[in-house]
Symmetry: C2
Subunit: 550 residues, 2 copies
Amino acid sequence: MAHTDPSPVSFETSPDQYRHWKLQIDGAVATLSMDVREDAGLSPDYRLKLNSYDLGVDIELADAVQRLRFEHPEVHAVVIASAKERIFCAGANIMMLRASTHAWKVNFCKFTNETRLAIEDASQHSGLKFLAALNGICAGGGYELALACDEIVLVDDGNSAVSLPEAPLLGVLPGTGGLTRVVDKRHVRRDLADYFSTLVEGVKGKRAVEWRLVDAVYPTSQFKDAIQKHARTLAAPSDRPAGGPGITLRPLNPTVTESAITYSAVSVTFNRHKRTAELTVHAPSGPQPSTPDDILNAGDQFWALRAFRELDDALLRLRLNEPELGTIIIRTDGEIDNVLAIDRTLAAHQSHWLVREIVHFMKRTLKRLDLTSRSLFAFIESRSAFGGSLFELALAADRSYMFHDDDEKNVIALSAMNGGLLPMSNGLSRLQVRFLADPEKPASLVAHDGPFNAADAAEAGLVTFAPDEIDWDDEVRLAVEARAAFSPDALTGLEANLRFAGPETMETKIFGRLTAWQNWIFQRPNAVGEKGALKVYGQQGRPEFDWKRT
Amino acid sequence: MAHTDPSPVSFETSPDQYRHWKLQIDGAVATLSMDVREDAGLSPDYRLKLNSYDLGVDIELADAVQRLRFEHPEVHAVVIASAKERIFCAGANIMMLRASTHAWKVNFCKFTNETRLAIEDASQHSGLKFLAALNGICAGGGYELALACDEIVLVDDGNSAVSLPEAPLLGVLPGTGGLTRVVDKRHVRRDLADYFSTLVEGVKGKRAVEWRLVDAVYPTSQFKDAIQKHARTLAAPSDRPAGGPGITLRPLNPTVTESAITYSAVSVTFNRHKRTAELTVHAPSGPQPSTPDDILNAGDQFWALRAFRELDDALLRLRLNEPELGTIIIRTDGEIDNVLAIDRTLAAHQSHWLVREIVHFMKRTLKRLDLTSRSLFAFIESRSAFGGSLFELALAADRSYMFHDDDEKNVIALSAMNGGLLPMSNGLSRLQVRFLADPEKPASLVAHDGPFNAADAAEAGLVTFAPDEIDWDDEVRLAVEARAAFSPDALTGLEANLRFAGPETMETKIFGRLTAWQNWIFQRPNAVGEKGALKVYGQQGRPEFDWKRT
């Protein structure tokens, strides 16, 4: 089968457009039911049988989780269920995986991992708990989705089981966090996890509870009531508002052309010849909301939410639709003081539910940037607005170049947002990761009064290089040209290792260890060769392996 | 060029056989000088120019580090130097990498990583410090070796630099710990590390010190004296003995046939049809040394040292020479009480230098087992000797099967060695990793009085399965057969994720993150395709890349 990735992909959707999920809200408990339309995959090359999913299904899931956070503060628990009888979810669609390019498989897994981590982020930080209601078959990516929930309840009907059959059936890994969550989140004993991960039929009933694979099982007759009871119990301690209203996340409606994507606060232009994308975030102008009520009134037009939603969407489009643009040059422009004012408002009102949602969304977007396998160069030029939360873009970059102007008007500035409110996947702020050699430094820099000019920023280690007018043009041009000439794969590996200095967490293990091994396997003839397991699954004949262990 | 891995490889050597290193001892300071013989590579297909290295060079380095620990307790610091003018080390030999199979490259990197970690282990636990004396070119793997040392001193001659040119020159990573150590050990700022890792010419002089890439630079005229001074300073605080004698590590001299490797306390038999290796460790018989003096007298014949040296050698041979034997079945036999008695002696005398060396060597060997990408099944049968340190073999296994005999004479037992003296790469004991769900359990199990029969061991979660006489034969046979049928690559990925539950350390990051990405890159056409960077380096023409980022 030819490799035919659907492209371009749009990541915007809304409940009235969902093809695969149904969202029902009943007081504090929402039910998000998977009901995948077989004929509505992103590509016509496969059918999404048995609630199997492709990227389009996961885009809707990600959208639903996001909307529940912003649009329905009265929801305190979400039941992830299935609308199909005796089937929860059969996992990622195998025909889709088989028909995809390597890059597509990798991006698909990355996005689905981010979606599952967004579920866990909502649980950990936002008082929104998740319950997986497994009414039947729950295999592979279906179980990985369940693992992302706070609780897993399985029907005990003598048949329904949870399973991770990827290794025995397909010769690949449960790569959407499955292996990591089994041992590192649910603390399943490693030898039982090994056995479980080689069992096509999975584990059911009491054994699934004893092995910590699920939290509870109920006979069919009690299943529905038990789910409601578990969901109400999960919802009860939430600190989210008892009632609405939330704010509405309206479509971003960017203008997309062959050479640019233009939003209200973000613009991206492509230089296909240089293989670069130039991404600019525009600071807001005029007076900004300064109280939670102002922010509620501004809703999705509040700059911090709007700009980061646009940034998030732009990153996803770049990842999937523009794979050859290997370097993203990040700029900002506008009034740096407006950014800092917004940061002060956000930091002062963190306990308000909507402010909290906005800050955590900014955090998740910046994590998406950290995890984007493109070279990131920040160019800090005159009239830029690299202050506080926008300076995180420069801290996320692999390098930053700051124009050293003669009159020292080009400045950057820090805010409370750089002091730990926007942590990386490893749990540290970007300043902490930057200054592992000097753990006291981040706090003293955040406490610094006023902006840093180029000389001060370079001296403080906040930027990589600060060329002056004589050198600037040549230096940044050569840096971009040199970067574009390197092996794209070597850069992906280099960046994945250098960006995440410091401790590892379950989240970084998923992206750094599990994903890296899965990508290796996705590339191997034993999976994707003509006789590889992923290629021959469901067809005549058995896979043929090169038995050498590596 | 055809792929022609040298095979079989022997991992035994000794200073009088070294071709590439010279060991000189001057009181408390030893100097280990790299002087690679161009024409003495493991294969005639390449020449080891400019102190570049292949596996054979690294086997000698590993041997030298090991012998310094056991044979020369009076040595407290080691200068890693070069015997060649203006060249420290040009890194791994590129012609060798180009001519190697994927599996060879992966095994080569794994072994060299283990060697560098053994250097750090000696520094951290054994009072033996290392100084890298960089007298000239120090590139790639050469710098990675320097990074493993406690201090790096570079000559300041206007020319000599440290560099990691793998990404720009070869399209691969500095995969022998380089990237991880730069940011996680030396805490080089991540943006400077990014820049440094793309510079073919590297960084020299004061900038190398400012960026934390080296600890000091000295002009040529002062270099030799400075090295001696730094080495004496490193040696001074050591708690190793002021004088010898050490013990001699004599050759293991196994009997190697087409179907078996037989040592004194370890035997391995191959079943090429089933693709299994059956590895048995024999407990000692008769009275055992019970004091440090007895152990000194027994020397390399003391069972704990002898058996683990043999185990270590067997694992290395299996890795390199028997790549198709995908499952290692681990057994023990003999007097379990003798193992437990030795464990008591080791635990009681940990502060004695030789006991310390033996315990840390046992630990490193068990880490080598954890990092061996073969499925590990422990079979605990009648007359087995899975007690204490030997029970770690069962804990390291992906699964354990314990024969549930009717008269309950088949037992396992724990000792103080299971309580933290033999930690994994992630810093936890194997019991701690096993019982992440119940952090109190490991200590209570170690405190348990007496052995565990099969029912008790299964109940305590110490073994995976405990089939009785009716089920045993079928159950273990089917388990081995099923394992042998799975994709070898999927198993490698599965095991690499499940074995290392819990926290990550610099060491696990090197093997789990850096190595996984490097293996992915080693497999990609952009590195190893006909026009890949690794293939065309040093030849006519430039690499041609698929520019899509993944």
